[in-house]
């Protein structure tokens, strides 16, 4: 299939911007609009744009790890965020927060870990589905 030069060039610039925006959405979440799910979707669409504009194989080499590893680690992070308060004797999923907010990131606590987990699960699942379909087609 012939690739569009315009799209490919644009995608190279757009993808990093969208990825940064997705992290912004992730950190903004909890009390304001945003969060792991939306952030993950934006990140996934950034990667998807890259995959469509350039090639699925290029996307595969761009990803440092297998998509299903992202899913597994994301779920593990979310589960850990729930289990941390249990270690301190509180019910499952109780929010624990650091007293002092960090610069740039803001308030840090287990909900952020949970959201990060969700972020990676979303990215992982979308990449998993997309790459499976694209590589099936390429065969």
């Amino acid at each position: 299939m012939k690739r569009s030069i315009l799209l490919a060039t644009a995608a190279r610039y757009l993808m990093p911007l969208m990825l940064i925006f997705s992290v912004f959405l992730l950190l903004r979440g909890h009390n304001e609009i945003g969060g792991g799910f939306v952030g993950g979707l934006v990140a996934a669409s950034a990667l998807m744009l890259y995959g469509i504009a350039i090639s699925p194989a290029a996307l595969r080499t761009l990803l440092p790890v297998e998509p299903r590893l992202l899913v597994g680690l994301g779920l593990l992070a979310a589960l850990t965020s729930g289990l941390l308060p249990v270690l301190t004797g509180r019910p499952f999923l109780t929010g624990l927060w650091l007293k002092t907010p960090l610069p740039v990131i803001g308030k840090v606590g287990t909900p952020l870990l949970f959201d990060t987990g969700v972020y990676f699960v979303v990215v992982g699942v979308v990449m998993w589905i997309l790459l499976s379909l694209a590589e099936e087609e390429a065969k």
């Binding site: 297998e66 299903r68 590893l69 899913v71 597994g72 680690l73 779920l75 593990l76 589960l79 729930g82 289990l83 308060p85 249990v86 509180r90 019910p91 499952f92 999923l93 109780t94 929010g95």
Partner: protein, 493 residues
């Protein structure tokens, strides 16, 4: 920590995803996980028995505002039985699941399914019940289609469409109920619904729940997806489904109709009993016409659901107790029967009753393994099915519901007929091409799982006294919603 039976399978599902490339690691993880889950479920059962209804406010947000997990005796019993079935299925999978399906994620899905099932048993509000149902269904959708064989895909389409329809109805009912009461916490609903002015809405919602859970638990006339799809995946998956999925639907029916709609229930017992009678009869008659081992057993699932519904329809504490004990019995016996069917298939290469035969002479041990759960299902003493049916019949006599008792006993005879047919065809009659095909070896894992489950099923019959006592305590909690309300919301009326 009552979330343990929920978190363990979730944790092991994640570990299995991480160990995707290594089937061997997944096998070990699965055995360890299923064993731990069984331990956790029985530990929870012990605690609930000692301390009464337990609940856990997730995230430390108190009920009715936050999400709660609630474990009463009924939940705990169901968790324990499904953990036993899960452990048996984990053992059976070691020999009964082909390499290709393992590579495509059988073990992670197995644990996601158990997560959903356990979550449904522990859910303390209706929306989470819906979510856990979905978790369970998502995993089961993939499991039923895993492998992608042609009949599997056909079965999966029917299964998926009917179950999605049920989920939609369920969600609509949840939405309507929220509109009416402004809460979805089960305890809070149980407190508010009786206080509502009697109107059509509550009845409408109750019937929507009945239809939604009715599809999921395969009651008459909504059962047809089950025999159309359950025989298509490998038998390990069918056994797991038969033991767990429809029973979660029945669990939801018991929960909703004892806790929420008991006061609105003037029309319900009759309706449920009529449905129960038809479910039993159509299931067993459908089974009589089948010549495929797994299809025959699938129709029996439907028939047995009728008895569970009868326990709910009679609506006395004794009947509910009998229903709970029946549930334990049928989950164990039915799963064991599917395991036997899988072993027959493994040795003889067929599920077709016409092609099979002579197995009594060639595999006497297998014949015995079939006979125990089969006679238990038909209700012969001293097996668990006998006590379960006896308890139901006695409860029916107490309420003078002679019609349903008569139907139940008649269906019991037909079940015996059906099991005799399988016995004759598979084990007794001469095989057509006698001795032509040598017996193929069967994995020791499959033998161990089947033997273990049959032993547990027999034990459930021998321990009928204590188990019925336990079921009676569980039923007493179901029959008195104020206990549940008080446990979750505290003393405030």
């Amino acid at each position: 920590m009552i979330a343990l039976p929920l978190l363990l399978p979730l944790g092991f599902a994640i570990l299995n995803v991480l160990a995707w490339k290594s089937p061997r690691a997944q096998r070990v993880l699965t055995l360890v996980g299923a064993a731990l889950q069984t331990g956790a479920a029985f530990w929870l059962l012990g605690r609930v028995r000692a301390e009464g209804i337990l609940h856990l406010p997730i995230g430390n947000w108190p009920a009715p505002f936050g999400i709660v997990l609630t474990a009463d005796l009924f939940s705990a019993i169901m968790l324990a039985v499904s953990a036993v079935v899960g452990l048996a299925a984990a053992l059976y999978s070691q020999g009964g699941m082909d390499e290709r399906r393992v590579r495509y994620g059988y073990y992670p899905l197995f644990f996601f399914l158990l997560t959903g099932v356990n979550g449904a048993f522990l859910a303390g509000d209706l929306f989470n019940l819906y979510v856990w149902f979905e978790v369970m269904l998502m995993a089961s959708f993939v499991l039923i289609a895993l492998g992608g064989e042609r009949p599997q895909v056909e079965g999966a389409i029917k299964y998926v469409i009917l179950n999605l329809l049920a989920s939609t109805l369920f969600l609509s009912a949840v939405g309507l109920l929220y509109n009416l009461c402004g809460t979805l916490n089960l305890a809070d609903l149980a407190r508010r619904i009786p206080a509502l002015e009697a109107g059509g809405e509550v009845t409408l919602i109750a019937v929507l729940f009945l239809v939604a859970f009715g599809i999921k638990s395969a009651i008459f006339p909504l059962f047809f997806w089950l025999p159309a799809s359950y025989h298509t995946p490998p038998v390990t998956i069918t056994a797991l489904f038969s033991g767990l999925l429809t029973k979660v639907g029945v669990y939801a029916l018991y929960r909703v109709f004892t806790l929420l709609f008991a006061s609105d229930a003037a029309y319900l017992p009759t309706l449920l009993l009529v449905l129960a009678g038809f479910t039993m009869t159509t299931g067993v008659l459908g089974a009589a016409a089948q010549m495929d081992f797994r299809r025959l057993l699938s129709f029996h699932i439907v028939s047995q659901i009728g008895y569970l519904l009868m326990g709910l329809g009679l609506f006395s504490p004794a009947a509910l107790a009998a229903g709970i004990y029946f549930m334990v019995h049928v989950i164990l016996a039915k799963t064991a029967l599917f395991f036997v069917a899988g072993i027959v298939r493994q040795t003889e290469g067929s599920y077709n009753l016409k092609e099979l035969g002579s197995l009594y002479a060639r595999r006497p041990g297998l014949a015995l393994l079939f006979l125990l759960p089969a006679l238990s299902l038909a209700g012969l003493p001293p097996l668990s099915g006998f006590f379960a049916k006896l308890a139901l019949v006695l409860a029916g006599f107490d309420l003078r519901s002679y019609a349903i008792v008569g139907v139940g006993l008649g269906v019991s005879l037909l079940t015996l007929y059906s099991m005799t047919k399988v016995w004759n065809e598979v084990f007794w009659k001469e095989r057509k091409e006698a001795g032509a095909a040598p017996l193929r070896p069967v994995s020791a894992w499959m033998w161990a799982a089947t033997l273990g489950l049959a032993a547990v099923s027999v034990a459930a019959g021998l321990l009928a006294g204590p188990l019925l006592d336990l079921s009676a305590q569980a039923a007493a909690q179901l029959a008195d919603p104020s206990l549940y309300i008080q446990a979750v919301l505290g003393g405030a009326p």
